[in-house]
């Protein structure tokens, strides 16, 4: 049997391009949290989020200084945790007299893909010093289980 492939190949300028595209696709697919998406509201306010995992739960922390608890909505659906709300400017502030405005105000929405199945009934949320901490306990079946090896 002889090798059917010749020793030289014509260089295809597009092959490098496509292989880069493939690599980028692979990178996005393998991203552990399945991505954090901005919600459909399409506003520019994106409160920063940390996503942590240990053997019992997925913990999500969001910086939301100045938010009122009643203006905040946290929902979970199909392995997506959605944090949305509206940060309101104090009614007493006359917009004509604002000297510096760096704080974000307005509506926001962040959707966090949870990498493992969680138990929605047991999710807890705390809001302390402007930091929202949502602890999503893993569903029992999603936890690693030790399998005993039978040696006969």
């Amino acid at each position: 049997m002889t090798a059917s492939r010749s020793l030289t190949r014509r260089w295809d300028p597009w092959s490098d391009f496509w292989s880069l595209q493939e690599e980028v696709n692979r990178l996005f697919e393998s991203f552990p949290t399945r991505g954090i998406r901005q919600g459909l509201l399409g506003t520019s306010y994106l409160p920063p989020v940390d996503v942590l995992k240990d053997k019992d739960a997925i913990t999500v922390k969001v910086d939301l200084p100045g938010m009122k608890k009643e203006d905040l909505e946290i929902t979970v659906l199909n392995e997506n945790l959605c944090v949305r709300g509206t940060k309101k400017l104090d009614a007493e502030v006359d917009e004509r007299n604002i000297h510096t405005r760096e704080r974000f105000f307005g509506s926001f929405e962040r959707v966090i893909g949870l990498p493992d199945p969680v138990d929605p009934e047991r999710i807890t949320a705390r809001f302390v010093d402007g930091v929202l901490t949502v602890v999503c306990p893993l569903r029992e079946s999603a936890k690693p289980r030790q399998i005993a090896v039978d040696v006969k």
Partner: protein, 130 residues
């Protein structure tokens, strides 16, 4: 002794868990606006506990330092991190139109709110039309 000086002397020292002089500070986002009698300065410092805030005034410079609660991520697998784990510090130069010696401060939900009264002659005055 003015109230501000008193506050400086009784301000709590940062706990040992915090570095004496961090290599990097985060500048808290500010909202500054004027009211008839006072100027209000709001600074966002999420993750800072009330007793870890220092507000000092030296001559015309106001400095705010907030020591962020140190979160230990060692026992976790960090899947995604956007929150900057730094302490906050920012300085402002106050104009002579405000009474720097009469600053009052309150803190709620990660926002420090400083209220500085305006000096008498800098307040807007209505002029009556005869």
């Amino acid at each position: 002794m003015s109230n501000v000086q008193k506050r400086q002397e009784t301000a709590p020292a940062p706990a040992d868990a915090y570095q004496a002089e961090p290599e990097r500070w985060l500048s808290p986002r500010a909202l500054i606006y004027a009211k008839t009698d006072e100027v209000v300065l709001e600074l966002e410092m999420p993750g800072v506990q009330r007793d870890k805030i220092e507000v000092t005034v030296e001559r015309d410079e106001l400095t705010v330092t907030g020591w962020r609660q140190v979160e230990d991520y060692e026992n976790y697998q960090v899947l995604h991190q956007e929150r900057a784990p730094f302490h906050y510090k920012r300085a402002f130069v106050l104009s002579e139109n405000v009474r720097a010696d009469r600053i009052s401060a309150s803190y709620d939900n990660g926002v420090l709110r400083l209220t500085i009264p305006r000096a008498e002659d800098s307040k807007p005055r209505r002029i009556e039309i005869q």
